[in-house]
Symmetry: D2
Subunit: 266 residues, 4 copies
């Protein structure tokens, strides 16, 4: 189980969310409060948009609290949309290519959760990736596989439809192999304009997901109609945070967001 | 606060202590039980003796549980004496040169604890290092500084005397600068023959230190008159572990050990 | 194009071949003499056998000349059979899982060369890997793919037959995709007893391969009936080195070696 | 001997100089043309200014051509002033803290060259660092030591005077220790406004230094009155590049630059 945060709004330094808050993402990397695996020290990543359509991506293997490069970038770049992630590995070695976010053209993806029994169905799931997205793969995680499947299932044209098709496809393979471990995911994708996020599990224990509206203390000028989608609240004044229900899909953009029900395709 | 283990006895694979036990050193790196900082994920190291007088040393910046190189070495080399260490950083960046054990000629040193207010007296303490040991320094930690001071204070000829002189010297500098934070140390040095370890603090909260006699379960043939000095027990059958008192110095060799009182030189 | 060396014989410290000679493997990493890519700085690896049937494996992403861990291990472990490798990347990011040697059970494999057009046939070649070897894959290289194919083609029972079948299979896929770039390989596999090596190309420019008999200067006692298979000679006294011809397969063991012709299966 | 480039002018993506040109800094890391050590693969760094007075700094140990993080940042951030550096180590291990540029408050420093006999006078030179700058030191290089001495010698108020005093001070220590190896430097410092650079050696072989005025091909809109100070030209149309003479000091700002003679203080 990992921790992540997605932000969209007025340009801010990512440190505003990664370093400053009481329960900042870096503090969650050392000791997450809402997670079954409190230590998320198996690498970290930050992807952010600037003037180009493609994001910049920094990913590395050190625990986030140790990575002076991550910290310096988070203090230096101002960005209207970024994804940040701290990893707790389930499958695959600790290497940059297994760290989130994953990027392709102007899209990024990150994930908290797992495909139950991935080791036994990895070959089949990788075989479902379309040829044009196959060489996107530089690592070995189930998360990167989901991103590749989403790309092939139409992520760029129909995000919620792509998530429905990909999750349905994965569940079908799991069922065909009699896998009883659940699929669980709190995932987000973005094209640099909108954040698309889902909270879902094949059992009743989907990873937590929250929406936050920022008027983060001490950052009055830099915020405004910003919106965050994230694994857990950044402070403990619960007024600012709203839990996303299970089997729900969120689209956030320009400080606002919509929610709708999410069910995988059959 | 770090965690470490020193072993001397019949040749064993270090995995016997690093990987196998219930509270193995690798498990302590993720969640130490007797420590005020439970996560020790700021690098790791293994130094071991073979046929040469000098040890082999592996040190790296990943958390121990993620380092397949560490794990492979711990499974592959058989050694009659080794030091292993997982770091929780107090001062200095995460880089190999700040990981323990430190080595010079046939000597190794590792440490759990800290020199109170080290940042404000670092310049003076580094100035006390003898020229001949000055270039041993490749990192920035208080621990490496202690090792260099020990070398200059006669570690190779009179280990307990060197510890007394070095600790006394450090405490004098701390006092001259009105530092109120304590010096605390659970440290070990070896020449490949004997393990010299000390538990000491300038207040009453010295880091824990234990002695263990091995008949580790499942390793009947490989052990025998082995002895371990270590930060905390490797399992919870308390019969095998003996706590070292504060202000005590241990010399372990050939499966046996002696204890004596330890007071810094004035 | 990478550089590698395989040694079998009386136990030696790998430094004897990696560090000491005039054209040692570490010197080849900075400036290889017989290679079209002189700098081999994209990671390094060392796999060696001890008392267990499985090898110990150290792989890392730094240039070999910078890796103090590699250097320390090469000075500390004595071994009767080892593989060492310095990488010049053709496909895939610089990560430990893309460094050689690759290991599975008691087998190791390393490679210099490339599958022409690998990016366009990667999906098909990975699809040929048997399920039982699929999760061996932790990286993205054509070299690791060849190892997995060899395992499925019977490497453990019939090494030369497995090489014939795997190379034939890869060439068939290349042909089916009208790939004109050549397949080139100088590769070695071992079970800890014998070294099996091949020099082959689908054009007439196979990577160099040499056999050496050791009475390495300055190491009179440690050598004897040892045998080396390697990318290029370690010194420039040509008397000690014998070039392996193209389309030849070498089996080396206990200081001796056999050569035979090598042709891929149709 | 390292390679570096400093840029000041209209905001550009650093890739314009690091990745795109025929003899880009990344190509120089693999094979520099004007250097006695052609391979500069011992780490890399990029420091750049944005809206804050302090620079962002990315430094890492991989060869520049392998570092996808460096490449992504160089493509994503737009900056009016940056320092970029590829290292060929002379003293000190390969670790982030030994990579350039070094930063303190809003200042940055980078260096190509060496203090002759540094190992034998390191203790004395480090002892000359003022207490307030002593903890800036996180590595072990002569370059970082020069930066700390510059800070103490008034870099922030009188850059050329500080360089004169620091170089004079270092030469005096070298002379007192009868060191015959030369001091050589091509170094640059900046406060985010002006670039101050020096080409100097105590013998007659100072590292090369060039000034370039940019109308880099293919970047017509992004450049203009920009100025580069750098180790060697980025392409081989010599019209754009002007060699800086030995014992010369350059101040570049807002697309223009001044040159003056440089002599160390006695």
């Amino acid at each position: 189980m990992c921790r992540w945060i997605a932000y969209s709004g007025p340009p801010i330094y990512p440190e505003t969310l990664l370093l400053t808050p009481e329960n900042s993402l870096i503090n969650q990397s050392l000791s997450a409060r809402y997670s079954i695996t409190p230590t998320n020290a198996d690498g970290c990543g930050l992807g952010w948009y600037g003037e180009r359509p493609e994001p910049g991506v920094f990913r590395d293997v050190l625990p986030a609290w140790n990575d002076q490069n991550l910290i310096s970038i988070a203090r230096q770049v101002k960005t209207p949309l970024f994804f940040a992630h701290v990893r707790a590995a389930t499958f695959g070695p600790i290497q940059r290519s297994n760290c989130h976010p994953f990027a392709f053209d102007q899209w990024m993806f990150m994930h908290n959760g797992q495909i139950g029994g991935f080791e036994s169905i990895r070959r089949e799931l990788e075989g479902l990736v379309l040829t044009e997205f196959y060489n996107v793969r530089m690592g070995t995680t189930d998360s990167e596989n989901i991103f590749q499947l989403l790309l092939g299932d139409g992520l760029r044209d129909d995000p919620i439809g792509a998530f429905r098709r990909t999750v349905g496809r994965v569940e079908a393979v799991m069922k065909a192999h009699d896998i009883t471990e659940p699929l669980r995911m709190a995932a987000a994708a973005t094209d640099g304009e909108s954040i698309h996020a889902v909270r879902y599990a094949s059992d009743d224990r989907a990873p937590t997901l929250y929406i936050g509206h920022s008027t983060l203390s001490g950052q009055p000028d830099e915020t405004g109609p910003g919106v965050m989608v994230l694994s857990e609240p950044l402070d403990f004044d619960t007024g600012d945070w709203q839990e996303i229900g299970m089997s729900r899909f969120v689209t956030a953009c320009a400080g606002a967001f919509d929610e709708e029900d999410f069910l995988p395709s059959k």
